[in-house]
């Protein structure tokens, strides 16, 4: 039995939150005296739908099933996007519905791929809205709501289960609403620190706020179309961003324990963090070496900085860029594709496959080899000293299969849908389609070839834009919650 009344009620409350966020942007517009009234219709729409939802949900039964949780979470991401795209359409900087939907979905899923060619011409209110969508989406719409509302009432456990990332969920507090407040607190703290650091490095206040929102969300929207290195010429800013991108890719529960509980030992002995560090440092080292040896035009410091920035940006699935990595030696492309796929830690704002899964898979493989030599060995999979239950391992392997299928299917449909042949870049190469699919499903932002950090994705066909939006959504919610809605069993009674 699906409890539609309760779903309507919760959706209603969530829409009030979106109305509040839009009002914040209206306020920013008003501060910069832009006079754009592009937010009002969206605010009214969100409020009206919110009231309708709450009214429909009167006397709703208190019981929230597993199915209801999945429906709420997947519907809310789509609905937020549908309402959130209207400012872009009304403003006129975004030409069509497909593009506006893409842009907003890319925001909420903290992907960071954009179809806007000239960001510097955009009104400040809209730029702030883009950043804010990333910041909310980074931590999760429902999670954000649970964190700021005093008590959500019902079904937090189920909603949380449908939205949180990673195969294992660690709670910092017995009650989810309290745990969400602590984790939310860590998130806000990181964002504020990032703003402060960027301003100290000489970034203007508005840029600092926006870049910080997008960095801690590992989103990757910015306020300028130019590359960061070309625009600011400030290594300090880049190092600050490197640091905060890296930290945002760490499991927030771990950060909470380290900073607020002083458990530093737990931090450095965490298996996922180790895997994350190994991949980041390994990939950066390869990039630096290749850049220094092959591409000797740059000095060593710049090579290290750009390698670190690019690897961390792609691995945490932020997608900010200091340089155009697509012109780097071709040997590096597989490395970059791998870090895009790997992603950072579970329980962080990053997307992708997540290091904890790689770490578990590594252990599963090791066990399999042990078992070949010792057929009767009992080999449990351990993470941080705890045995990973078999059903979790099984779920993880299913996730691998689903991830790979979605990736290839996405690339195939993208290659079919193609680009406008009259455009600046009429040919669609297979690796570009693959890069876009990878970038979308991992919520990175820039892709490969033409679709790297320098150009926007504006020339994609409308179909391709919707395909990308879908890939972003399933990537952000880790595929299962969305795909399950398309199964027959989900809608079967009983």
């Amino acid at each position: 039995m699906i409890n539609w009344k309760l779903i309507a009620k919760i959706m209603g409350f969530l829409l009030f939150i979106e109305a509040g966020l839009l009002m914040l942007c209206q306020f920013v517009s008003w501060i910069y005296d832009e006079g754009v009234k592009v937010f009002s219709p969206a605010i009214v729409l969100a409020l009206v739908l919110g009231v309708v939802g709450v009214l429909l949900g009167r006397h709703a039964g208190k019981k929230m099933g597993r199915k209801d949780g999945y429906i709420v979470v997947s519907m809310v991401w789509v609905l937020f996007t549908l309402i959130g795209m209207s400012p872009f359409l009304l403003d006129g900087h975004v030409p069509d519905v497909a593009s506006a939907f893409f842009e907003t979905m890319s925001g909420f899923t903290s992907t960071g791929a954009t179809i806007i060619d000239d960001l510097d011409a955009m009104p400040k209110g809209l730029l702030f809205w883009r950043s804010l969508t990333q910041w909310i989406g980074g931590i999760g719409i429902v999670f954000f709501t649970i964190a700021i509302l005093p008590a959500f009432g019902v079904g937090e456990v189920k909603l949380f289960a449908a939205e949180s990332t990673g195969p294992l969920h660690d709670k910092v507090h017995p009650r989810i609403s309290v745990a969400a407040k602590w984790i939310g607190g860590v998130y806000v703290m990181l964002t504020l620190l990032c703003i402060l650091s960027l301003m100290l490095c000489g970034m203007p206040a508005f840029d600092a706020v926006n870049y910080s929102l997008c960095t801690t969300a590992t989103g990757g929207y910015g306020t300028h179309s130019a590359l960061i290195d070309d625009y600011y010429h400030s290594p300090a800013i880049e190092y600050v961003l490197i640091f905060f991108m890296f930290i945002s890719g760490v499991n927030y529960t771990l950060i909470y324990y380290t900073i607020l509980k002083g458990k530093v030992k737990k931090f450095f002995s965490d298996a996922e963090l180790k895997a994350y560090l190994v991949i980041v440092l390994g990939a950066s080292l390869i990039c630096t070496l290749v850049l220094v040896l092959v591409d000797s035009a740059q000095d060593v410091e710049a090579s290290i900085r750009h390698s670190l920035f690019t690897v961390i940006s792609l691995q945490t699935t932020t997608g900010l860029a200091t340089v155009d990595y697509t012109v780097w030696p071709v040997q590096l492309m597989p490395v970059l594709l791998f870090v895009m796929f790997a992603g950072a830690s579970s329980g962080s704002t990053s997307g992708g496959f997540k290091c904890v899964r790689l770490s578990i898979i590594y252990r599963v493989l090791k066990n399999e080899f042990t078992r070949i030599l010792h057929p009767r060995a009992v080999t449990p999979v351990r993470m941080n000293g705890n045995i990973v239950p078999t059903n979790v391992v099984q779920m993880l392997l299913a996730f691998v299969a689903l991830f790979v299928c979605s990736l290839f299917l996405g690339a195939f449909v993208l290659a079919l849908s193609g680009v406008d042949p009259n455009d600046v870049h009429p040919n669609f190469d297979y690796y570009e389609a693959f890069g876009i699919a990878m970038s979308s499903i991992s919520n990175v932002g820039p892709g490969m070839g033409y679709y790297g950090p320098v150009h926007s994705w504006a020339i994609l066909s409308p179909v391709a834009k919707f395909v990308c939006s879908f890939l972003m959504l399933i990537g952000r919610l880790e595929i299962f919650p969305i795909i399950i809605l398309f199964t027959r069993g989900f809608w079967k009674k009983g």
Binding site: K62, A151, E156, V157, A161, K171, H173, P174, R175, I176, S177, V178, N386, I387, P389, N391
Partner: protein, 460 residues
């Protein structure tokens, strides 16, 4: 409040569910991974896969910050060990489940307190008390006492209008069935108050036009003096306190039940199939109890022993199905009080529908006992007990609060709220629509579906 529960068995699980619905911070420790995994994805609690008696496990659960530590694993010595450890690690209050009667004696309490265990809980003993209470008021399904037993909340099952296939159990007429509450009030005065009706598994808050139907479970609030009137009106006059009963099964619970019943009974017969156990039982129970060797379904034996003249049948074997069947059969034979032990919670609701008088579930009894203990200890909490989806709460009227301004009927309480009774200057009375509440009155309120929190503004 932070509560750590050790042991995710039936008691622990049930408690965790009640407490997390109550928005307490619950940590549940158990060594069984699978059991916790399922619970953790369903309840808003923190689960911890550790042996409850491991020191590191208790530290991970942060028992030093726990207000309450509840040890309810199946193993008594583990319960005692982990409760003691928890106390030493800083838990404020500790509760342990035991299964030894000796431990429950008043003189042992001091001993356990010195060991760091403040409260003990012995489910068999609690269940035995329930059995005794339901034998004494055999026509009542369940009864709760407030204000030193002056104010009573009781649930009574209404008869079927035409019992089909059953021997007529009662020849007295139920004077309430088929009438609306308004009519009942007019005809029988205001010596009791219908606060809720449970019909088809749903608890409803009745208003004047609500009719009482056959098979309803009706919750009455009344004072001690008027108990007899309810009995008369519900047609249960020929239900005096049970004086002799037949107990099937000779387990621990049966022994405790015998001890309790011996004080109010003329005679008890206890059937136990195992010869060795019957010998043990001889030394455990007083001569008032006759011990019979045989099976509970041996009809020849039962008939020989005057099955038809028994006033109550209490089925307490370890086999739920056998207990339920024994009770159903006894109902057909006209035994008016039947009590069955049903340990499997899935059977619990089913057994309720079968019209077995009282169903005893040790785990539920233990869990709700701990829960009530907890509610009493927490001064901010006005809730006294929870029945299904309804809460019973006690409010003290603050001077100048909203309720002192108007008579009850003009206050417009939210739907689902029903004021049962109150005590003023130590005297208990019922509350009717015209009652004007005063400061310092203690009011007992029945609230359905979480309406409890909406009431604060009325009383403060």
């Amino acid at each position: 409040m932070k509560i750590v529960i050790a042991g995710a068995g039936a008691v622990g699980t049930h408690l965790a569910r009640m407490l997390s619905n109550d928005r307490q911070d619950v940590v549940l420790i158990d060594a069984d991974e699978g059991r916790l995994f399922r619970l953790g994805s369903e309840l808003d609690i923190m689960t911890l896969v550790k042996q409850p008696s491991s020191i590191q496990g208790l530290k991970d659960a942060e028992v030093n910050r726990a207000d309450l530590f509840i040890a309810v694993t199946p193993n008594v010595s583990e319960n005692l060990t982990c409760a003691m450890l928890a106390k030493q690690l800083g838990a404020k209050h500790t509760v342990a489940r035991v299964d030894n009667y000796e431990y429950m004696k008043p003189e042992s309490l001091e001993l356990f307190k010195n060991m760091g265990i403040e409260s003990l809980i012995y489910p068999e003993l609690l269940a035995a008390e329930d059995i005794k209470a339901s034998a004494r008021y055999s026509w009542v399904r369940q009864m709760w006492e407030f204000n030193n037993g002056e104010l009573l909340l009781l649930s009574v099952k209404m008869h079927d209008a035409n019992p089909i296939g059953e021997k007529e159990i009662s020849n007295k007429e139920n004077l309430l069935v088929g009438h609306t509450l308004k009519e009942i009030g007019m005809a029988h005065g205001h010596n009791f108050h219908v606060v809720a009706i449970k019909r088809d598994g749903e608890t409803i808050s009745p208003y004047g036009d609500e009719k009482i139907l056959p098979r309803d479970l009706v919750f009455f609030m009344t004072t001690k003096e008027n108990l007899g009137e309810i009995r008369h009106l519900t047609g249960k006059d020929d239900y005096p306190a049970v004086k002799n009963s037949l107990i099937i099964g000779g387990g621990k619970l049966s022994v405790r039940a015998c001890w309790k019943l011996e004080t109010i009974h003329d005679g008890i017969k206890l059937i136990e199939p195992d010869r060795k156990r019957t010998e043990e039982l001889q030394s455990l129970v007083s001569p008032k109890t006759m011990i019979l060797e045989g099976e509970g379904y041996d009809m020849d034996l039962l008939n020989d022993e005057g099955y038809g003249n028994m006033e109550a049948l209490i089925a307490l074997t370890d086999n739920d199905q056998q207990n339920i069947l024994a009770c159903v059969a006894a109902r057909r034979r006209g035994i008016r009080k039947t009590i069955a032990q049903v340990e499997n919670l899935d059977y619990f609701d089913m057994a309720n529908d079968l019209d077995i008088g009282t169903i005893i579930n040790k785990k539920l009894i233990a869990a709700s006992h701990i829960y009530r203990m907890l509610l009493k200890g927490d001064v901010d909490n006005v809730k006294m007990l929870t029945i299904g989806n309804a809460d019973v709460a006690e409010f003290v009227v603050k001077p100048g609060s909203k309720v002192t301004k108007k008579p009850v009927m003009d206050l417009h309480f939210p739907y689902g709220v029903n004021i049962g009774g109150m005590s003023r200057d130590g005297k208990s009375m019922l509350v009717s629509g015209a009652t004007q509440l005063q400061a310092d009155d203690k009011v007992v309120v029945f609230c359905i579906d979480n309406t409890l929190k909406k009431l604060d503004k009325f009383f403060k």
